[in-house]
Amino acid sequence: MPREPAGPGPIADPRLRILALVVLAFGFSALTDPRALALMVVLTVALAWRFGLPPAVLARRLRWPGVVVCGLVILLPLLSGETVLVRLGPLSVRAEGLEAALGIALRFLCIVAAAAALLAPVPLPRLVAALRALGLPALMADMALLMLRHIEELRQGLSRMRVAMRLRGAPTGFWSGQFRGIGWALASLLLRSHAQSERIYHAMILRGHGAAEAAPERFRASPGDWSALAVLVAAGTGLLVLEHML
């Protein structure tokens, strides 16, 4: 049986990458003590370095959720707690809120970085196959695989239709009924893609996809993969134990 293609980092098997991420992410989310949080940052930096996480990939993943987290990090020190640290005119920065905000920011950064380091190099269909091997129901795995085939097509289709609508002189403002145009564009895109989606799925079934006797996609973890997983699981659980001891 062929070995997993070597990706960046010491774990090639995507199943073990997912398991390592689950342990680390849930472990990180339980940390509140400043010393445990500091160790979490050290562990994340080591993980990002060892798995070769490009800073641009991390920056891209911080853009969307960063808005919610930034809002909380700015508001919590001003709204929560009793101990006033600094007064800025009518506003007071409070110690308890500041501590909570720092905890949120660090946990968020470390979990996003760990997820990017472990999962970003894995091709998405391979990720779905790994999830299936870990017990994801076949129906959901099929939906995920088909969805991946539709995303780019839908995005381009919707973009083309919006440009076409604008070129035809369709109204563009909120108060001028733009929502109805978007609704109709979405509905006609759904209709157009639905027939194609059914054809693709039936072709997959005819080629043997999902048949009971079809061989499932196999994964093979090397001893090095298992060792790296053991190290990461030990590090994640070690942080949790430390949190409870401190």
Partner: protein, 211 residues
């Protein structure tokens, strides 16, 4: 309305995961009870892609812009397929863009999935009643109602899970601010859902009946 990683405590994320797994298990059980459980997989996959892409479509609502949530539409077009579809969409949004989170996948699944199933239940209750105007009002109510239910769940989870104490007055102000901020989104989403369903009812009613 996606809750990112790092905000909620472990107990809440695990509870969210258990709740999402429970609702998904019930949904899959209902789907498997059908004569051909795989028949609607293409439609569910397509709607999952729409749910995914919708988060990239921004609609200007002065003074800012909003993106569609489409939980209500998912529920009305997919029925029991809505919950697994939403979980898949949220997982890929988290993995590809960092939108939402992996530890909060269950919580976000409940925040988006329960309103979808509520919209499905609402549609089952009023199905076949009234004319086109009544259908449009029903679709608007289900689309907008799903957004407001999701906002209520989001606010409740966020306030329960914040690792900091907020006094009662601040909590009330936060709830009011979040509800008011999402009101335009609810209106826009209700109108878009009504337009989508109105179009499908005229052009391809079998798509609506399938749910």
């Amino acid at each position: 309305m996606h809750i990112p990683d790092g905000i909620l405590p472990l107990s809440l994320t695990v509870a969210g995961l258990a709740a999402a797994a429970g609702v998904t298990a019930v949904s899959l059980w209902r789907i498997k009870a059908r004569p051909d459980p795989r028949a609607d997989v293409p439609r569910a996959a397509l709607m999952t892609a729409v749910f995914f892409v919708a988060s990239l479509v921004h609609i200007p609502v002065p003074p800012t812009s909003v993106h569609l949530m489409l939980s209500g539409l998912m529920g009305m077009l997919l029925g029991w397929f809505a919950m697994p579809a939403i979980l898949i969409g949220l997982f890929f949004q988290a993995v590809m863009f960092g939108h939402g989170g992996l530890t909060t996948l269950g919580v976000n699944g409940v925040i988006f999935g329960l309103p979808a199933l509520a919209a499905f239940g609402f549609l089952c209750l009023v199905r076949g009643q009234g004319g086109p105007a009544c259908h449009a009002v029903t679709a608007f109510a289900a689309g907008a109602g799903a957004v407001m239910l999701a906002v209520a769940l989001f606010t409740a989870v966020l306030l329960a899970g914040l690792p900091a104490h907020l006094d009662a007055a601040t909590e009330r102000r936060a709830i009011l601010a979040l509800a008011l901020a999402h009101l335009p989104l609810a209106v826009v989403e209700g109108l878009v859902v009504a337009a989508v369903l109105g179009f499908l009812r005229r052009v391809s009613p079998e798509l609506l009946r399938a749910a």
